[in-house]
Symmetry: C2
Amino acid sequence: MKRIFLKVAYDGTAYCGFQFQPGDPTVEGELNKALSVLTGEDTEVIGASRTDAGVHAMGNVAVFDTCSTIPAERFAAALNTKLPDDIRVTESREVPDGWHPRKQECRKTYEYHIDNSRTGNPLRRLYTMHFPRRLDVERMREGALCLTGEHDFTSFANPSSQVLKNGGSAVRNIEEIRIDGEPGGEITITVRGNGFLYNMVRIIAGTLLDVGTGRFSPEDMKMMISACDRTKAGITAEAKGLLLKGIDYQEGTE
Amino acid sequence: MKRIFLKVAYDGTAYCGFQFQPGDPTVEGELNKALSVLTGEDTEVIGASRTDAGVHAMGNVAVFDTCSTIPAERFAAALNTKLPDDIRVTESREVPDGWHPRKQECRKTYEYHIDNSRTGNPLRRLYTMHFPRRLDVERMREGALCLTGEHDFTSFANPSSQVLKNGGSAVRNIEEIRIDGEPGGEITITVRGNGFLYNMVRIIAGTLLDVGTGRFSPEDMKMMISACDRTKAGITAEAKGLLLKGIDYQEGTE
């Protein structure tokens, strides 16, 4: 028995999210199905990030256990012959027995993509939130700076978060928020940190859009953080603008 | 009666090309339908470029005649409320009576997008040709230089081209071919010129890929041009990698 690590990219448009749900198309369901066809085993992957319906990924991570004789590095290519074309395994390798993708120190990078053009770009409609209002990107950068660092992000989490319901900590460390692009074009918010609460990146994006339009000031971010109250922050931006870019594990996967 | 110019962007994935075909989804068919709903007139647009099934556009052009009192500049926003979300009119304005988008001096810019990654990026699968073989981009640039300028492009045209069948000239002037990107990532071939034969950009892209792999040498391009024989050039690259970026009219539209 060995444990195999998979790096997974997918277009989330057609899926009800990553996590398996009986009867609905999910990324996890497709991975399990392809693995079972390939190995003849009844396989269930463990995912690193349970992305929501419509959210995309370039570098989500999943592991599974197998007795198959297929070499670990070959699983990527073999799985891609069985998977639908909107899911691709870009890397596979063996990891230590019991290595768990949600129980390791890691750094996640998300991108939130905003189409700020007037009419919307039809070629980017599935991968951006169309937001045609005038945005002050410099103001958004100032607001982003206030969110950077270690804070209690209760105001920036969906209150139905299991972690919060179970009384867990909402303290997270955002290492960096970078905003690229020009008003009228595509604007990308890149957020990197050691952990995220449920919907946290989408609420940060929605709130920074409100800073960009002038509804909030950059300094309002500080008040929102200290309030620890979801109703003080901005909207949850649309799922389809969110991309899980990658997960870096500090150790234990080599 | 006035003539209105439309700049049109679309995701070609769901369409059997631009040109109207009874019973099939086409971009022209959707534009005609939306205009008829909007104006109450039985409208047929005239398109600048009849892109093939699966080909995308950021700046195709179409015109139509109307007696509607809707101001010319308002048609873009009004049409977008009636069009499916994979077609967007990004600009509308009045042009002189009888102005015809295929009978004016113009410069067209196409992009051909190649996904050179090993496994293919699922988020770009509808907008690129996946070509995972190792490419020498510098060699492709040398080959592209041989195609630049005024030549007889018979070898780079689909022989079923109406122009060629009618005994028309295959002489065209390519102003520039630019190749951006790195091996293993997305590589974009940008082609700008005053006119293109049927499938010409896709055959140029397919041939330059063969130069990139080493099947052809850059100098072979000269032999291909002088042969005036379609069988001497490379394959016709996939439709979905092609994007009509824009059409610049030198005069008559202001």
